[in-house]
Point group: C2
């Protein structure tokens, strides 16, 4: 069994994961990202050591950690986490020493993709893609049965594909990134923009900015499902640009399976059908089919499970 | 040695290609694309048989043909060539019978990429991309040392990646394809649009549509190089969107080498430097480098050479 760690900008999920990708036990703590990196890492070490002690001695042989940014997977160093303000951190070495077991690091979306590859819907797939739809958009691109990290560890960064022109810039400084159209953050921002206009909606609006802040993705999806026109405009826009992003991936690698994970996959068939329809309508060769678009098996747990399974992969590779 | 055939919408290039990718002899004929497919194929068979007879008996063991559209590389059938109006043509069987030697078909840009992989700048590259910049934009995506055809034979269709919003639609019916921003056709269309305005330019303009028709890509590049402001606006726009397209490919596979071929590569360093600068400025992680952007070795001959080398590849694979 392995210790899996999913480091997010808001929360850190940690769990004991078995070889089949089952979560034996798990815990969640707050990141408090304004703190220095070493204080956050200290929290991970304390909780991780406790979780390891909770299992039979020697049964946890390695740990895996997914981080929200690019990782140099050959050295195990975090290159950069914009949302955390972390840069050049040799996370594998620090955690291996702190936890007393070999620890392996990867990009969080990549590790979520590994969960689906090892034990989920992407098992045995030659060419595929996994997209995590959450606060941001991450990805894992599979070609020739392998996840693509690329020449500079910045492959599979699907959220930064440019798909149009948008009314606000991406955190990367550019305009038009998929993440600014189709993430949960993008959905909320665009809905707020619509709510500041005159269109009717069942969604809460009001003069105060704080009040508007209360809107979240789940509320918008629920309103859309109940027929709210404004919420549907916002959800349709998310689906439209996601379809453009998917078709851009098709234009590069033409995957047999396109798998959607992350928090937004909770929106269910209502959302999935919109995406499928938009993608089918946006094919560049109308008579040629594209790969199937499905939800992943592990939903929001994919990152945590993938972190554990990645530790297993690396441990086996080292033997 | 092999017979290489590069079937274009305007011209058909045919040549005898040796194992190292050298052109021993070559000829060019007009396609006259309004004719039915079998008449065009008859021309290819007649000229091909003549070229085979021109060599020592038995020295040409196979032929390869690149076509401007998607090919099912498992069956050797043309799926669709929009520019020729061809659909569902079992080209490999027809030409194998006509020429009397095994003939293998592929997408023209894919075969051009094979030329660079087998004997050019992409030799030995694990992750790379080849873009042909001509009347349209085609591509060949390399992952794990293999060209990606994809699950439905529509991978490597880089020209149909959506990179923005444009003033005219693509031949595929959609808006915003890279091909409509950065092909030679796009350069000419946008320059004409600028010339219909009031801005000064050394480029010929005039009331008549036919007169404007005389402008070609070479003239626009030459004017830009000589400092013509209007021509530079047009070339800069081509480079800007090409850089966005390149960065979108980086976001998927992060290639170590990005190779540009096709007619527009004749524009030389002047154009290449603009593309490199735009791409460097458009990185999503400013501190992380991207793969090098270079011109291919074979320029406009890549399609012809690749067709011959593909015949060699397939012949070896069959042994």
């Amino acid at each position: 069994m392995y210790l899996g760690i999913d480091l997010g900008a808001t929360k850190i999920a940690m769990g004991i994961i078995d070889e089949e990708g089952r979560i034996i036990t798990s815990e969640r703590i707050l990141t408090h990202r304004s703190r220095p990196a070493d204080t956050v890492i200290e929290d991970i070490v304390v909780l991780g050591a406790e979780m390891i002690r909770g299992q039979a001695a020697g049964s946890i042989s390695a740990a895996g950690i997914g981080v929200p940014g690019p990782v140099d997977m050959s050295t195990g160093s975090i290159i950069n986490c914009i949302n955390l303000g972390w840069k050049d951190i040799a996370i594998e070495g620090i955690l291996s020493r702190g936890l007393g077991i070999p620890t392996f690091a990867g990009n969080d979306a990549t590790l979520a993709g590994i969960a689906e590859m090892e034990a989920g819907v992407l098992k045995g797939i030659k060419t595929g893609v996994f997209l995590t739809l959450g606060t941001g958009i991450g990805g894992a691109v599979i070609c020739e049965y392998r996840i693509q990290h690329g020449a500079n560890n910045i492959a599979s960064e699907i959220g930064h594909m440019i798909v149009g022109e948008n009314f606000y810039n991406c955190s990367c400084g550019r305009n038009g990134c998929l993440e600014t159209f189709s993430s949960a953050t993008a959905l909320i921002k665009y809905t707020r923009r619509l709510l500041s206009g005159k269109m009717d909606s069942s969604l809460p609006r009001g003069g105060s900015r704080n009040y508007n802040n209360r809107i979240n993705g789940t509320m918008i999806f629920n309103s859309a499902r109940e027929g709210d026109a404004l919420a549907n405009i916002a959800v349709d826009r998310v689906a439209k640009y996601l379809a453009i992003g998917i078709m851009n991936i098709v234009a590069v690698i033409d995957p047999e399976l396109i798998v959607l994970g992350g928090g937004m996959s909770k929106a269910g068939d209502f959302f999935l059908e919109k995406i499928r329809k938009e993608a089918a309508d946006r094919r560049y060769f109308q008579e040629i089919p594209i790969g199937e678009i499905v939800y992943g098996r592990f939903g929001q747990d994919a990152g945590l499970i993938g972190a554990g399974l990645y530790a297993g992969q690396r441990t086996r590779a080292a033997v």
